[in-house]
Symmetry: C2
Subunit: 419 residues, 2 copies
């Protein structure tokens, strides 16, 4: 018999200190979003292979863990020799299952519906530092709300949640970046790019943080775009000054290419969110924010940590996606929080591991009588009733080492009982 | 494109009311067991196929959802034509992964280690009422404690937890049934059965609740056992009177077949647990308790609800199991709680669904100005700060229906904002 002690590649065993930290953060997320009326839902981890391979998942579809057919179904597939051995797969995100869930259950749900999902997703990616094959995602989505209220609620709720979590390690400076896919498209169209070129142009613009406007110019030229068009396009971004307003930035674009209501809508989001933010948190119009996923259709947003310059949450409006799955368009906007990244940052900033509090261990020598044991157990019960943690354990031969390991978990009270 | 709206067969989408109830119960379980020093851990849902098919899982091994190899590994398997397409599988219980986890991580954990696991397991069983292909298991285990303290802590903690959960629906009468595998074996040996017959004899005795002693007698005779031996065996159980003590029951068995320390150990568990129990909860020695799983080696126990006569939790000592996996014996005892059954009972007893509390919805007409929206959002923020739930939604065309669906989730405050 071959027994393998280590977990499956790229997936982690969670030690008690890991779990205490994760549970603490998950419960803050639940509570914080819960106060905004987001309702927790859950879909199975196993999803129909048809739904996972419907071309909505982008590159993630290449990373599916497939679940094999069973019994007669599997035998038929083998006999046919078509290689179609899987009928299910493990979900690679929470958005595809959400689309299925909403298509299946929408008549039982309020409209609009504010969903909170926290759960594991699976990607057969090459594991690297901070990237795993099983990891927790945390998404909020508002389905059935085409108005700016959806973005306002998503952003204020997420900003409040992050502020609260990071206050524990004294990090309080965040920037919310806001842009709109329709503005991104309009700028490209106004410069002279064709509609079908926009996707490729935005892939280049998305590299702004890494290669700057000069790098983008070079890449666009290498990709064979007209030098004049590229020049005109980048001039718009070169003219951007810190604190530029949406109206200023869009002033040169005609109503035909960019309807005024897109600008009004984005301004309203910015204006309504700004007064709700805690000290240290700001919201800015960021004309170079692109966000990778192709399915966004309207406002897009991202939260970065000022002192680290990386993104901790991102999202946007995706009004066309659920319809592609279910055949019925549903206005939708969502925000996805980098849960594993939050955990990594908290761990890096903590002094030691996340420990138990108010915990006492009674260590019982084997010579102790039943009656005395009962007394000790009753005392432990009393501590538990008072809200403390108490454990009753047999004393190990090496009691010093036993106490050390218990201290590492957070136990501070020890009572050795010898008779 | 074929899109499937319903979840995968035998797995459930959780509606918000389902999630509220499940989260409520999970958090009571965490808190209750946490007070006893049980520490939450987690293993990946995906496990090595070798570990899942190591013959420790009994019939569950026939029900594995297998996860396919990927890339070159899969191609090699197909080319070879051996049919070995899977390298992983979804865990069918929490015990096999716990054995792997402990083998892998024991030097980072206190000794003894008190583990709490709550997570989904997967079985490709035929779905039926209350039985699913993805379901939540909730196990506590104490690893590395060969003394009666392990059973005492497992049983008192579980009794306290169940008492607390069911108090909410005014159910308070439970019976803890206690027996020992070594006593069961000793009675069979003393009657004249051979060592290798014990397993089969206990399968018959396990049917006591369904077919009674006469039914068991008939079954044993049909199975070809000697009539005199069967008669002698059942006479022991026929002589059992209510309230029989462990010592009385075992009085006729020689020290050679049943060492006195087995009896002392079981009496100590019973004696130490009894004074810790809440009103309405009793612990009894139950000589006909068998518990199906073959891996138990010592004390076994089960909790039944007096008014329903079914089991809600069961467990026992399994000192030989971890060694079979990892090659190194570890004293172990565990208690598994029927989480899905608890949820079913709570649902059956509740008036309506599990609802939000203190929840207010602001319903905003589309004519409302940005400035007024900001005022409303600020008021919602204030309610949230006070610990209440507040949501800001666009008013639906059919606002009556919108309110109805929100009321179904527990919203009680509504404010319609027209301008």
């Amino acid at each position: 018999m071959k027994f393998i002690k280590t977990p499956v590649k790229g997936m982690l065993d969670m030690l008690p200190s890991d779990m205490r930290l994760r549970e603490h953060v998950l419960s803050m997320i639940k509570k914080s979003y819960g106060a905004y009326g987001f309702m927790q839902i859950e879909t199975p981890i196993v999803e129909h292979i048809e739904n996972l391979t419907s071309k909505q998942g982008g590159d993630n579809e290449k990373l599916i863990f497939k679940v094999m057919k069973r019994g007669a179904d599997l035998q038929r597939a083998i006999d046919k020799g078509t290689g179609e051995y899987a009928d299910n797969g493990l979900r690679y995100d929470l958005t595809v299952p959400l689309a299925r869930y909403y298509a299946c259950n929408r008549d039982k749900l309020p409209t609009p519906f504010k969903a909170l999902q926290m759960g594991n997703v699976y990607r057969a990616d090459n594991p690297q530092k901070g990237r795993f094959r099983q990891f927790t995602q945390c998404d909020i989505d508002i389905l059935g709300d085409g108005s700016s209220l959806a973005e306002i609620e998503l952003i204020t709720a997420t900003a409040a949640m992050l502020t609260q979590i990071f206050a524990e390690i004294n990090i309080s400076r965040f920037t919310i970046h806001l842009n709109d896919r329709q503005i991104l498209s309009a700028v490209a169209l106004a410069a002279g790019f064709a509609q079908e070129e926009i996707g490729s142009v935005l892939i280049s613009l998305d590299k702004f943080d890494k290669i700057g406007l000069d790098g983008i110019q070079q890449e666009l030229l290498e990709n064979g775009y007209d030098a004049q068009v590229v020049e005109k396009y980048l001039a718009v971004y070169r003219a951007v000054k810190e604190g530029i307003t949406i109206e200023e930035f869009c002033a040169g674009i005609s109503e035909e290419i960019l309807p005024g209501k897109v600008i009004e809508n984005l301004s309203e989001i910015l204006g309504c969110v700004r007064p709700m933010l805690a000290d240290g948190v700001k919201i800015v119009f960021d004309p170079t924010l692109v966000r990778g996923m192709g399915y966004y259709t309207g406002p897009i947003f991202e939260i970065t940590m000022d002192d680290y310059n990386f993104s901790i949450a991102g999202g946007g409006r995706y009004d066309k996606m659920i319809g592609k799955f279910s055949g019925q368009d549903v206005a939708a906007a969502g925000f996805s929080i980098g849960f594993e990244r939050i955990i990594t940052i908290l761990k890096d900033h903590m002094q030691g591991s996340y420990k138990l509090e108010n915990a006492t261990a009674f260590l019982i020598d084997k010579r102790v009588s039943s009656q005395r044991k009962t007394e000790i157990i009753a005392r432990a019960m009393e501590l538990r009733r008072q809200g403390m943690v108490a454990t009753v354990l047999p004393m190990a031969k090496n009691v010093g080492h036993q106490i050390e390991l218990l201290e590492a978990e957070g136990f501070t009270g020890f009572e050795k009982v010898y008779e």
